[in-house]
């Protein structure tokens, strides 16, 4: 579904990603772990089009996307969340979920101006889809509140719901449980497993090994921009190099 070939990203003299090869199998959950500053977020930015790699190829669902603008990548069916939550804070929860369905919409300003039925129908459909997501992520009772006013855990779930609202084939989650307690983390893991069941491909970045163990089929380990291991969760936990680079150090 997603493949990175020899992806390198330089920021000035700093090499954040160094010849990274990664393959995320369709309808599987791939984990990406690594210490702070390893280049995990950089990788997600390059895949989602917020940034572009210095060299290398990124192929998503048959499209070469390393130079494609972000909005078109979303149109191909790739969605993401952010390590530091980035909701549209002044919009309501419901509006966040409606604006995320932009790519699926067709209605033009002219249709809106003349109240054409096509415009109204589209809006009604988008509202219905938003309500399904509100239900699923337990956000129905806050649907009219500004997104910025929600408690932290709700914001995390809204980000995930909003990513799903773009109707993706694959979703990239950047530390989705950062700042959550173990119970919330486990509950979020259940949401992630549900997405896999629904046929989505998932790439999840995490610090929390319990979540990785709970959901991942395969794990990549990134250290100083280099992939140092790629294996099943069980094997990764035994890997000497990984233990030295990452697991041995608690943070």
């Amino acid at each position: 579904m997603l493949e990175l070939r020899e992806v390198t990203k330089n920021y000035g003299g700093l090499r954040s990603l160094d010849s990274v090869n990664l393959h995320a199998e369709a309808e599987m959950i791939t984990g990406l772990i690594g210490p702070n500053g390893a280049g995990k977020t950089t990788m997600i930015n390059c895949i989602s089009g917020l940034d572009h790699p210095t060299s290398g190829e990124i192929i998503f669902d048959g499209h070469s996307i390393e130079r494609t603008p972000a909005h078109r990548i979303t149109g191909y069916g790739l969605a993401r969340t952010y390590q530091n939550i980035r909701l549209f804070n002044q919009m309501s929860v419901l509006e966040n979920l409606i604006v995320a369905q932009h790519s699926d919409g067709r209605a033009t300003l002219v249709e809106a101006l003349f109240f054409l039925p096509s415009h109204l129908r589209e809006y009604r459909q988008q509202r219905e889809r938003a309500f399904e997501l509100l239900e699923r992520f337990h956000l129905m009772n806050v649907k009219d509140a500004p997104a910025g006013s929600l408690p932290y855990g709700d914001q995390r779930r809204l980000e995930m719901a909003r990513a799903l609202a773009t109707n993706p084939k694959m979703i990239l989650l950047d530390e989705p449980t950062a700042g959550m307690n173990p119970i919330e983390t486990h509950e979020l893991g259940e949401h992630i497993l549900q997405m896999k069941e629904d046929g989505l491909t998932i790439l999840v970045i995490e610090h929390d090994m319990s979540l990785i163990s709970q959901v991942c089929d395969e794990v990549y380990v990134l250290n100083f921009g280099v992939i140092i291991a790629n294996d099943t969760v069980e094997n990764i936990k035994q890997n000497e190099e990984v233990i030295v680079a990452y697991l041995g150090r608690e943070d």
């Binding site: 917020l50 909005h71 549209f88 002044q90 604006v99 932009h102």
Partner: protein
């Protein structure tokens, strides 16, 4: 219309003042739409000039029908904005503001020297823009009804825009353009469209303004005008469409308030001299002071619904001390 002025003239709002207020409101909306898309552009004075000159030349030189000429002014402003949007909208924030001021100044210089340039190219002397002395003897065709109609159309457009896929995309872009892109929104396209829409609204205001005063001059549409337009939006606020309208109304009405309260005379008494010839400066200073107050105390603008709700709540609580506010 007459009955409106019967109501308004006691407050010093003559037909002419009212017309200026309407134009200011429309111009306020023209910058509101670009701010709505997260663009800090000061180009709308230039687009107003485009609309004014194009439509006036068409009605006076080529005897076009007035409404057709206004339409042509709107389209001309749209075309020019589409062309300059390509280089200019790559810039953001203060850089965009500076580049758009530059555009406005270039346009003013161009209008001043248009006839000379024309003569150089075509080798024929002709008065088209009339240089620094402008175009004179323009028929006064614009009426209050036309202005009200145009304001109505523009407000309707904005209200519908607000409730459309287009408008939601703009709001998303203003809040976080990177995330908006990740939501599938083509940021460049929508910002261009907002820029062009704002230009067309300003172009129409210019066309109507051009047929209001018998004369148009390049400096009617220079830097001062660009700042004025921004002032309408900042004073009124940009959270809703009401903001730029209220802002435009207040600032266009202000000279009248100053005249009626005789602020200049009052200041003159305080300083012991006659400040009569500083009338315009006093107006600018007052606008400046009001703006400063608004930016410091009402950053959302005078017409911010949230602020008025707070004020209403506070007054309500004042008269109902038993019920403690639980907000």
């Amino acid at each position: 219309m007459e009955f409106i002025f019967d109501l308004l003239t006691p407050y010093g709002i003559t037909e002419n003042t009212f017309q200026n207020m309407l134009i200011a409101a429309i111009l306020g909306i023209s910058i509101y739409i670009t701010l709505y898309a997260g663009l800090f552009s000061l180009a709308n004075a230039g687009f107003m000039a485009t609309g004014a000159y194009v439509s006036v030349i068409l009605t006076t030189r080529y005897e076009w029908d007035f409404l057709l000429a206004v339409g042509a002014g709107i389209i001309a402003a749209g075309l020019i904005s589409a062309i300059i949007s390509v280089p200019v909208l790559r810039l953001s924030d203060i850089y965009l503001a500076i580049a758009t001021i530059g555009f406005g100044e270039i346009l003013v210089v161009l209008l001043r020297n248009f006839d000379r340039i024309y003569e150089l190219i075509v080798n024929k002397e002709e008065t088209i823009t009339g240089g620094a002395t402008g175009i004179k003897g323009i028929p006064v065709i614009t009426t209050t009804e036309y202005l009200l109609l145009y304001l109505g159309i523009v407000v309707f457009l904005m209200v519908r825009l607000h409730r459309s896929r287009f408008g939601r995309a703009l709001v998303a872009i203003r809040q976080d353009n990177k995330v908006a892109a990740n939501m599938g929104i083509n940021v460049v396209y929508y910002q261009n469209m907002a820029f062009i829409l704002g230009a067309m609204i300003a172009g129409g205001a210019g066309a109507l303004h051009g047929h209001l005063n018998r004369i148009i001059l390049p400096e009617n549409y220079g830097f001062d005008r660009a700042v004025d337009i921004l002032t309408f939006a900042v004073l009124g606020g940009t959270t809703t469409i009401i903001g730029p309208i209220v802002g435009g109304f207040i600032i266009a009405y202000l000279p009248e308030i100053l005249r009626r309260t005789d602020l200049v005379g009052l200041l003159g008494d305080i300083f012991g001299t006659d400040l009569g010839r500083y009338q315009a400066n006093v107006r600018d200073m007052t606008v400046g002071m009001i703006l400063l107050g608004v930016i410091v105390f009402l950053p959302q603008g005078i017409a911010s619904p949230a602020m008025w709700r707070r004020v209403a709540n506070r007054i309500w609580n004042l008269f109902n001390p038993a019920e403690k506010s639980d907000a």
